[in-house]
Amino acid sequence: MHVESKLRKPLITGGKTLKDVSEDICKRVEEKPSLSWYAAMILSNITLVVGAYAVYRTLWDGIGMWGLNKTVMWAWDITNFVWWVGIGHAGTLISAILLLFRQRWRMAINRSAEAMTIFAVICAAMFPLLHMGRLWIGLIWVLPLPNTYGSLWVNFASPLLWDVFAITTYFSVSLVFWYIGLIPDFATIRDRAKKAGRKISAFIYGGLSFGWDGAAKTWSRYETVSLVLAGLATPLVLSVHTIVSMDFATSVIPGWHTTIFPPYFVAGAIFSGFAMVLTLLIITRKVYNLEDYITIKHLELMNIVIIVTGSIVGIAYLTELFMAWYSGVEYEQYAFYNRVTGPYWWAYWSMMTCNVISPQLFWFKKIRTNIVATFIISIIVNIGMWFERFVIIVTSLHRDFLPSSWAMFYPTIYDLGMYIFTFGLFFTAFLAFSKYFPVINMAEVKSILKHTGEKIKK
């Protein structure tokens, strides 16, 4: 039997019973959505449609619609790509790494964090796919098929191709991990629908639950599958942003060509991912009255992860500056001098303020246990992490080796539209998820209810 110290705060408050857990979570799926849900869904759909126009123009007229130029040939698109992929790191980190470390607080938040991961990776994938100009050909070009366009096969020495493999693997393994966790909960919804005589619901969730009946033998296998998947997903999470960082680090561009990139990018990804999880969960727990499941303790623990990863990111920024100076390479030195004081100084200092200074406020217990402060800082961190990618990408490129090639990057409305499109896509998907899927992993929460619930602590 698991015994836990009474000093630890309960992970589930409100004196919940097993029945209450099913009731509280399934109610959202079974009831009609609230007016605020409809309002949010309509707003997301409008965003999606407005952004879709930019996608349409990009496909129809080509990527000349974007603000890229000969010098800055990668800018807005890859910034957004890295930003979304980074956000997509929190879900699997929470469900896999925290599972291996036996962190029980993950159980209330892993479902929605994983959903967020999946949607964020879809949004990220939009950018490189559309940057290929012709989406339909681009999809084939990345596959290891013989072709007649030049080199006979895809180039396995290119980090861009590693990225294709890393992101598709990450996406599909995260999806499978998420779905396996959903099966027992779908069975709960199915059986509740059967009891209440809702035939259509029972049929749909019956199909989704794969005929799950909760037999001890199946649970035993399920636990093995979860553990091994967590073991596989842990290095996978770390590999994805490592490989994304290699898109830059293996080049010879000053400001990109650094060995610190992989750990620095991974820490940054976890940092931004947790910030987005916080933003979404603070809204979700409020709208769906889940304060007893996603408690202040959960938010505080996530804030601690933010302090740790934010500090790693801060140290990485300073290390980069030091190494640029210490390397003695004038191009490297200029790249960083230009980053800090050049025409994009405002982006650099926004990044420093948002990412290095703001998370340090979480050292104060009052701030890290305050919902409003957490919400604001989580958004600031997300903005800061967007600027980080923009700074790394654009400031390293815009002042080329030859001053005659120097240029500035200005986004067009189509660049903005593409970004807006992904927001519409992300929120539409997340809202649909929060309506039709159980937002909290009921089976896992039930398994810890007895030992970490409020009743046992009294």
Binding site: L18, S22, W153, F156, P184, I243
Partner: protein, 177 residues
């Protein structure tokens, strides 16, 4: 005994710790438990029921190894044998650059292979019919099912045994074969 189905005695348990003790004592009486159904994974239940450790991790390793081999065969076949090219001054068999894709393919095949095996051995499929002894077993109750014919005790004796071991409720259920 009906012609149409198999008759089970089921015991409903409210608490996982009572359930675990009940499994041990019921099995100690020589009763053969058909299966126990729970709304969440109960730790230690496999040992009490005498289940062996799942071998799915071995399946994961085998599929993962297959992924490693496939990835290396693919890349060596394309970049070393079929169309050798010098990229970045590396030789025709640049093993370090093959590491990322090999790793990803290993993880991909291990994960999909293991999950696929899990679904097949556990008979989980979209058109699968759950074996529901009691609808509450996915909500808040643990259900222990004992097939009457496979045991020497009578229905009443089995019910008494379950009740004496903490079952909050006992029923008889006819299941289709």
């Amino acid at each position: 005994m009906s012609d149409k189905g198999v008759k089970f005695v089921i015991g409903i348990y409210d608490d996982e710790d009572i359930l675990l003790d009940a499994i041990s004592s019921v099995r100690g009486k020589g009763v053969n438990i058909h299966e126990v159904y729970s709304p969440f994974p109960v730790h230690g239940i496999e040992d009490r029921l005498g289940y062996k450790r799942s071998r799915l991790s071995i399946a994961a390793f085998c599929f993962g190894f297959l992924g490693t081999c496939l990835a290396l065969t693919m890349m060596i076949g394309m970049m070393t044998i079929d169309w050798p090219m010098i990229i970045g001054g590396k030789d025709f068999l640049p093993l370090p650059v093959f590491i990322p894709v090999t790793f990803e393919m290993t993880v991909l095949l291990a994960a999909f292979g293991m999950v696929g095996t899990f679904l097949v051995v556990s008979d989980l499929k979209p058109w699968g019919k759950p074996k529901t002894f009691d609808l509450r077993s996915t909500d808040d109750k643990h259900v222990m099912a004992i097939e009457i014919e496979k045991n020497s005790m009578s229905e009443i004796q089995l019910k008494k045994l379950l009740e004496s071991n903490g079952a909050s409720e006992t029923n008889t259920k006819l299941m289709e074969e």
